[in-house]
Subunit: 346 residues, 2 copies
């Protein structure tokens, strides 16, 4: 017989937080990520720490998430750091950079390559504790009304794309445009927009772009992965018991890989349906990739020369990217290249 274990009593205070997502419920993989975190945290704290998750727009707008958390209007948000590049360009590093680190490389940089420390220093200025929580994997390059055969075809192209990616396309001659979410579909239909990019097959299918722009380009070279973050107001974070902080951290680590695994599972199924619905899968002409690679790197160097906070991160990110790219070519990429092609020939 086993001796009955000694019972210890652990004090768990009741805590209630409100979290805004930057996404609507319809983007289910994105929206379910903070829900997963909230469920895990509740289980790990015997339901004493409850986080209520609200879709974008219900309390604050999707792009006001950071401001609301900074001000303490809400305790937390699930959002993309790069939505806030208008405040300062360094925000881009923590989500996605054109020709930046891919999903696994980004995790390695954030956890072991110095990224986490840079992220903590960066967000400290905003009174925010930021924890990586989800990734999209490499994204698609978006939906184009007309085929893009050369660099010249980008000239004046009205493309809904923001941030650094928008700046890169501007340098390539395109006309990056900001259009509110609700207006994207009608703008594309009317031709006020020539092209739009969002995430990948699963989300893009829900937004219905295939019906008005059939040329679906790969890859989304400006998002070789896009990391989402759980962001907490620093004062609210500091007030948590250690066990609750640990519960959030470990739940975010779980959600971090869970989100991309959902996309990896769902995207092949969605892509097949999209192709059946008339999507023309196309790959970027090489001259566009080459020009975009050149302009992206030039843009980073220019930005670093003007912005010391950006430079501090770029000085870590840039050599890390070199090392990661070099290593991933050896085992991962050489496997993928052979095996994926062999399977396609069967």
């Amino acid at each position: 017989a086993l001796a009955a274990p000694a019972l210890a009593q652990t004090a768990m205070p009741e805590v209630r937080w409100r979290l805004t997502s930057s996404f609507p419920r319809t983007l289910d993989v994105l929206f379910s990520t903070p829900e997963l975190i909230a469920r895990r945290v509740a289980t790990l704290t015997d339901n004493k720490f409850r986080i209520s998750v609200f879709p974008a727009g219900e309390i604050v707008g999707g792009l006001q998430a950071l401001d609301a958390v900074q001000a303490g209007t809400l305790e937390a948000a699930h959002t993309a750091s790069y939505y806030y590049v208008g405040k300062e360009p360094g925000f881009a590093f923590f989500t996605a950079m054109p020709f930046g680190l891919n999903t696994r490389q980004m995790t390695a940089w954030l956890r072991h390559g110095g990224g986490r420390e840079l992220q903590d220093t960066f967000f400290n200025e905003y009174n925010i504790k930021a924890i990586p929580a989800g990734d999209t994997g490499a994204q698609m390059g978006g939906w184009f009304r007309n085929e893009v055969r050369s660099l010249a075809d980008l000239n004046g192209l009205k493309f809904r794309i923001a941030g650094f990616a928008g700046q890169v396309f501007q340098r390539l001659g395109a006309a990056p445009t900001q259009v509110a979410a609700a207006d994207i579909y009608p703008s594309l239909e009317r031709g006020t927009l020539d092209a739009v990019e969002f995430v990948g097959p699963h989300d893009d299918e829900r937004l219905g772009f295939v019906r008005v722009a059939r040329n679906y380009y790969a890859p989304g070279f400006w998002e070789p992965g896009a990391r989402l973050h759980f962001m907490a107001n620093q004062r609210a974070w500091d007030a948590l018991p250690d066990l609750y902080k640990a519960a959030i951290e470990v739940a975010c680590a779980e959600a971090d890989s869970e989100m991309v695994s959902k996309y990896d599972h769902l995207n092949p199924l969605a892509l097949r349906r999209l192709v059946a619905a008339g999507a023309q899968l196309r790959f970027w002409p090489r001259e566009i990739l080459q020009a975009a690679w050149r302009e992206s790197n030039a843009l980073y160097e220019e930005t670093a020369s003007k912005n010391p906070r950006f430079k501090a991160i770029w000085d870590s990110y840039k050599p890390y990217r070199t090392d990661q790219y070099q290593w991933f070519r050896v085992a991962e990429n050489s496997f993928d290249n052979f095996a994926f092609a062999a399977a396609a020939q069967q």
Copy 2:
């Protein structure tokens, strides 16, 4: 002023488990994975649930981990399912298959593609609760005393390689050999072995193979990722409070991505040192990859025709691989191919 939160008292029983790793302390990324799980579980249970982690050989041998957990000699182990293919071939699916799913694809299959349910059914026969907990990423193809220029060069080659990978190499004409861990290095030095494979640059460097076999091949097409598992005795698992089960599950999910991110961080640094120490980085001749692809698939079909438990898993794994390979070519692989090459040309 804020109202003081109500305090709830949660009963947490004292629980002590012993866990054996299948690895020695010197293989630090592998060995530290269950240590990370144990630390997280302790934090999440206010130190009431303590798991002591022992290296291979201290309580039971590395390859006896599953037997010990099945029998209840120990409550838990951190090991590789495919070490036990001698019991039945289905064990291979949960770690790595030649030309199988890569790391992200494997996570998607296990979490969303039906893999978890198949895994649970499979391990139930062994009285074991198995939870994915760590991955190596795509491995290297090992160290060869002589260059391998063609399929003919594999003829009679004494290669230390086990399981399905060993069977594939046997079909290619090689002589797969089982050599105890301690004898690998001297066997390679004496020429009793012509070649050996282990994991990748970080671990391989610690084992010192570069000093006696300089040709370092990529990729390890038989391990496009290798998943490790936390395995618990089913009766010990069932006796845990729900909160402790949740603590193990979430800690394993964290460790699952943490292990590969450590490898991703460390491998580029180790590869550079190995090349400086004289390693000749080489890629498999195409005819070897093609023959291995053919023989791997033939072997799976033959095994499935003889073994219904293997077949039940293969019937899920095979079409999942087709879908994943097809999708990953589109965004991930097309990004990686361009960007990695562009960076190398700078």
